[in-house]
C-alpha cells in the first residue's frame, strides 16, 4: 500500500544500450497500472528497476515517500511474479509460499494462517504438499502469485505472468487476477505485451516504445484518443486502418479528402484543429475496423474497395480489403444482420463500398506521427 513515483528515470546497460529514457510516472496508492508495449521496449527493465534488480542509471524512484534508488530489493517491501514462475524447486509449495515469511521470522501460526488463506484464494490448497515439479503450468503460476500475496506487500509487480499459459488458461487467469485485485487491495504494476490484457486489467495503461512512454491513460482514453500513430496502431485488435489522405481547411471548417471522397469534420474536431493551428496538409487517417460500415446499396460518398480475404470469425466477419491505391483496410462486420444475399456479395474479388462518420476518424501528421487533434 504505497504510491510509486518515477522521476526522470533512465537505464543504460553496461553495453551502452539505453533501455529506458527519461521515464516519468506517478502511480497512486492502490492503483493497477499496466506497462504495455512491443518486445524490447523496456517494460521489464523498468519493472526490474522498481524491484531493485537493476541499478537506476539516472533519476529518482520513490516508493511511498522514501527514495529507494539504493535500497536492496529485500528492503523495498515489494513482491514480484516472474514470467517463468521462478519457484524454488527443492521445497514444497507450502514452503515456497512460506519462504519470505520465514525470512521475516514470523510466527508459525501466522505463517500457516497466511499460506492457507492465500492457497484458498487461488484454489491450490490440495497442492500445498507437492513440489513445483509435480504441478502444471497454470498451477505453478498460481503458486507464484500465492508466494507474492502472502507477503501483503506495498507494491505488487508482475512481469508477463500469463504469457507462458495457453490461450484458454490465460483468459481464466486474467479473470482471476481481476478478482484477486479486488481482494488484495494494494498497488499493482503489471507488465504485458498483450494489449487485451492491458485493456482489461489496468486502471491506467502506460504504452511504451523503444524506452519512451508513448501515452499514459485509462484504457478508454488510450483507445479513444491515441496521442500518436504508434498507440493508435498498438491498442485495438484488429489493428487500426491507416490511409493516406488530405486535410483541407475551408474557411473555419476542415474536411478530409480521401480517394475522391470528402468527409467534413464535426464541430469539436474543427475547434480542436483550429486551436492547434493546423492548416491544409497531408495526413495519415486512422479508422478502427469496427467503426467502418459497408454499404451494400448506393455508393454516394463511399470508398471503393475490392475484397481480398473474407475471414469468418463466427459472430463477425473480418474483411481484408484493398483500395484503388492498394492501401489495405480491415473491416469488422457483425454477422447477425447480414442477409444470405449480402453474404454472397462478400466473396473474393468483388467490389464493395465502405464509409465512416467523421467522429471516428483519427488524424495524424505523417511526419511527427502525432495526433493532430489530441496530440
Amino acid at each position: 500500500m504505497a504510491s510509486v513515483t518515477l522521476e526522470h528515470v533512465k537505464k543504460i546497460y553496461d553495453n551502452k544500450v539505453t533501455a529506458v529514457h527519461d521515464f516519468n510516472l506517478e502511480i497512486k496508492d492502490k492503483e493497477f497500472v499496466v506497462f504495455v508495449g512491443p518486445s524490447g521496449c523496456g517494460k521489464s527493465t523498468t519493472l526490474r528497476m522498481l524491484a531493485g534488480l537493476e541499478d537506476i542509471s539516472e533519476g529518482t524512484l520513490k516508493i511511498g515517500d522514501r527514495v529507494v534508488n539504493d535500497v536492496e530489493p529485500k528492503d523495498r517491501d515489494i513482491a514480484m511474479v516472474f514470467q517463468n514462475y521462478a519457484l524454488y524447486p527443492h521445497i514444497t509449495v507450502y514452503e515456497n509460499m512460506a519462504f519470505s515469511l520465514r525470512l521475516r521470522k514470523m510466527d508459525n501460526e501466522e505463517i500457516h494462517r497466511r499460506v492457507c488463506q492465500a492457497a484458498e484464494i487461488l484454489g491450490i490448497t490440495e497442492y500445498l504438499g507437492r513440489k513445483p515439479k509435480a504441478l502444471s503450468g497454470g498451477q505453478r503460476q498460481r503458486v507464484a502469485i500465492g508466494r507474492a500475496i502472502v507477503r501483503d506487500p506495498a507494491v505488487f509487480l508482475m512481469d508477463e505472468p500469463l504469457s507462458n499459459l495457453d490461450a484458454k488458461l490465460r483468459n481464466q487467469m486474467r479473470a482471476e487476477i481481476i478478482m484477486l485485485r479486488k481482494r488484495v487491495d494494494t498497488t499493482f504494476i503489471y507488465v504485458t505485451h498483450d494489449q487485451t490484457e492491458a485493456m482489461t486489467l489496468g486502471d491506467r495503461i502506460v504504452v511504451m516504445k523503444d524506452g519512451y512512454i508513448m501515452q499514459v491513460g485509462s484504457p478508454q482514453e488510450v483507445f479513444d484518443t491515441p496521442k500518436n500513430l504508434f498507440v493508435a496502431g498498438f491498442i485495438g485488435s484488429p489493428q487500426m486502418n491507416f490511409l493516406k489522405a488530405k486535410l483541407v481547411k475551408e474557411g473555419s471548417g476542415y474536411s478530409v479528402e480521401l480517394l475522391g471522397v470528402k468527409i467534413p469534420l464535426n464541430a469539436d474536431q474543427n475547434a480542436a484543429l483550429a486551436n492547434n493551428k493546423v492548416g491544409t496538409q497531408e495526413i495519415t487517417l486512422g479508422v478502427r475496423p469496427e467503426h467502418t460500415s459497408v454499404l451494400f446499396d448506393g455508393k454516394q460518398n463511399a470508398i471503393e474497395c475490392s475484397i481480398n480475404v473474407n475471414e469468418m470469425m463466427g459472430s463477425e466477419l473480418h474483411l481484408h480489403l484493398s483500395t484503388v491505391n492498394n492501401d489495405s483496410i480491415i473491416v469488422r462486420l457483425p454477422t447477425v444482420d447480414l442477409t444470405q444475399e449480402q453474404r454472397k456479395q462478400l466473396s473474393y474479388g468483388n467490389k464493395m463500398y465502405i464509409t465512416f462518420p467523421a467522429k471516428v476518424m483519427h488524424l495524424f501528421d505523417p511526419k511527427t506521427e502525432k495526433n493532430l487533434i489530441y496530440g
Partner: protein, 457 residues
C-alpha cells in the same frame, strides 16, 4: 545387383552368383537383432577386460595384505593366494596402540549419554507441548535444563568409564563443550524442520520431532561421539602406533582441507557466477592460465615460504593444510558451470522475498547444487588424502609427521622392501576404507537432478 555393395563383404566373396542376394535378404531382417547382440557382447567383453585391469592390482593388494609376514615371506612372492591366512599385517599397523579399547569405551560412554539425553528431550517435549506457548522464558529454561543435565551426565560418564582426568584440564574441556554447543546449534538450525523455534535452538537435537526414536538416538550419539573424540585427544591422548599417527595426520589434513576448500570453492564459484564486478573476466582468465602450470612447479618457493613460517618438518600438518587450501579458489570451473545452469530468476525471486545474498546462497543455491557440493567435498578430501608430492618434501625427514602415502612408501623404500611389502599392502587397504565409505554414502546425491519445475523449461 546393386544391393551387393551394401551386403557384408564375407557373403559376397564366397559366392558371386545370384543366390548370394537371396541369401542376404533374410539375413538382413535377422541381422538387426544379431547386430545388437554382437555390439552388446563386445561392450561386455571390453568392460570385463577393463575391470580386470582395474581390479587386478587391488585384489592382489588385498590378498597380499592377509599373508603373514612372520610365517611366510614379507616381500614379493610369485603366488597370489597366501598359504597362511592371517591378520598379522593389520595387527602390526596397530602395534603398541590402545586404539580398540579406546574406541570401545568411547562408544559405551556416548551410547549411554545419548539414550539419556534422548529420553530427557522426549520428556521435555511432552512437558512443553502442555505448556503455554507464549511463556517463552519458561520454555527456554526448561530446555536449557534438559541440555545441561545431558551434558553433565555425559561428562560424568566420560570420567568414570574412560578415566578422563578433568582436574588440570578445565579450560580445554570448556572450549570443547563450547564448540559442541556452537556446532550443535548450527546443525540444528540447518537441518531441523522443527516448528518450535525454541526447540530448534537446542544443540544436539538434530533429528526432527517426528522422526523415529532410532534416528534421534543415532544423531545424538554421533554428536556425543564427535565431542568425545575431541575431548579424548586433548585430555587423554590415545597411544598410537606409527601407522595410526600417519593415518591421523592424513585424516586431520584431509578433513580440514575438505571443509575449508569446499567453502572457498563454492563461494568463489557463486561470486563469479552471480556477481558482476570490475575485473571479473580478467580474474577468470588469469586463473585459467595459471591453472595450466602444474602445481609442483612452485614446490621450491613454497618450501622456503613454509620454512619461514616454521611449517615444515614438525609443523608439516598445518603447513600442508595451508598449501592445499591456499590455491583452492582456482578450482572454481566446475561448480561455477553448475551454478550458471541454475536460473538467475531464482536468486532474484529470493532476494525480493527478503533474502540477503548469503541467504540466497545458503537456502536456494546450496540445496539445488547438492551434487556439485558433494563432488567438491569428495575432491577436496581426496586431493590431500592421496597426495605424495607435497607431503613428502614438507615433512621431509620428520617421520611422525608423515602422511600415510609418504609413510607407507618409506616402509618399502627406506626400511626393507622384502620385509615390509605385506604390511604396506595392509596399510593400503585401510587407506581405501574412508574413501570407499564416503563414496558409497554420498553416491545417491550425485545422481539426482533437483532443478525440475523451477522455471518454465
Amino acid at each position: 545387383m546393386s544391393k551387393k555393395n551394401k551386403v557384408p563383404e564375407v557373403d559376397i566373396v564366397v559366392d558371386e552368383q545370384a543366390g548370394v542376394i537371396r541369401e542376404v535378404k533374410p539375413e538382413k531382417t535377422r541381422s538387426k537383432k544379431g547386430h545388437e547382440r554382437r555390439v552388446n557382447t563386445s561392450i561386455y567383453v571390453i568392460l570385463v577386460i577393463m575391470s580386470i585391469i582395474w581390479l587386478a592390482p587391488f585384489v592382489f593388494l588385498v590378498f597380499q595384505s592377509f599373508r603373514s609376514y612372520a610365517l611366510e615371506s614379507g616381500g614379493m612372492v610369485d603366488y597370489l593366494l597366501p598359504k597362511h591366512w592371517s591378520l598379522d599385517n593389520y595387527r602390526f599397523l596397530f602395534d603398541g596402540s590402545n586404539f580398540f579399547p579406546w574406541c570401545g569405551k568411547a562408544l559405551i560412554t556416548c551410547g549411554i549419554a545419548a539414550i539419556g539425553q534422548c529420553a530427557l528431550l522426549t520428556l521435555a517435549q511432552k512437558k512443553l507441548s502442555n505448556m503455554d506457548s507464549s511463556d517463552k522464558k519458561g520454555r527456554l529454561v526448561w530446555l536449557l535444563c534438559t541440555l545441561a543435565v545431558g551434558l553433565v551426565v555425559f561428562l560424568a560418564l566420560a570420567a568414570a568409564v574412560q578415566g578422563m582426568a578433568f582436574a588440570g584440564n578445565v579450560g580445554k574441556i570448556c572450549i570443547v563443550v563450547a564448540l559442541y554447543l556452537i556446532v550443535g546449534y548450527i546443525m540444528a538450525r540447518m537441518f531441523t524442520k522443527q516448528d518450535d523455534r525454541l526447540l530448534r535452538q537446542i544443540p544436539g537435537y538434530v533429528a526432527d520431532e517426528d522422526s523415529s526414536p532410532l534416528k534421534k538416538l543415532l544423531s545424538l550419539c554421533l554428536e556425543f561421539l564427535a565431542m568425545d573424540l575431541i575431548l579424548l585427544c586433548i585430555v587423554s591422548p590415545m597411544v598410537t602406533s606409527q601407522y595410526l599417527r600417519w593415518y591421523g595426520n592424513t585424516l586431520t589434513i584431509a578433513l580440514f582441507v575438505a571443509v575449508l576448500q569446499t567453502i572457498i570453492v563454492l563461494s568463489v564459484s557463486y561470486t563469479l557466477s552471480r556477481l558482476r564486478f570490475k575485473g571479473r573476466k580478467l580474474i577468470m582468465n588469469v586463473v585459467l592460465v595459471l591453472g595450466l602450470f602444474p602445481g609442483f612447479l612452485t614446490m621450491i618457493t613454497l618450501y622456503f615460504l613454509l620454512k619461514q613460517l616454521g611449517m615444515t618438518g614438525a609443523g608439516a600438518v598445518p603447513g600442508l593444510i595451508l598449501i592445499y587450501v591456499a590455491s583452492s579458489g582456482m578450482g572454481y570451473y566446475i561448480s561455477k558451470g553448475f551454478f550458471d545452469t541454475i536460473p538467475k530468476s531464482l536468486d532474484e525471486s529470493a532476494r525480493i522475498d527478503g533474502a540477503t545474498r548469503f541467504q540466497v546462497f545458503l537456502k536456494i543455491i546450496m540445496p539445488l547444487a547438492k551434487p556439485i557440493v558433494i563432488y567438491t567435498i569428495l575432491m577436496a578430501f581426496m586431493g590431500p588424502w592421496g597426495d605424495y608430492v607435497f607431503a613428502s618434501y614438507v615433512a621431509f625427514g620428520n617421520v611422525p609427521n608423515y602422511n600415510v602415502a609418504v609413510g607407507l612408501y618409506q616402509w618399502v623404500n627406506v626400511n626393507d622392501y622384502q620385509g615390509y611389502f605385506t604390511r604396506f599392502c595392509a596399510g593400503g587397504v585401510l587407506v581405501a576404507v574412508p574413501i570407499t565409505a564416503l563414496f558409497l554414502a554420498l553416491q545417491k546425491y550425485y545422481v539426482e537432478g533437483v532443478t525440475g519445475g523451477a522455471v518454465k523449461g
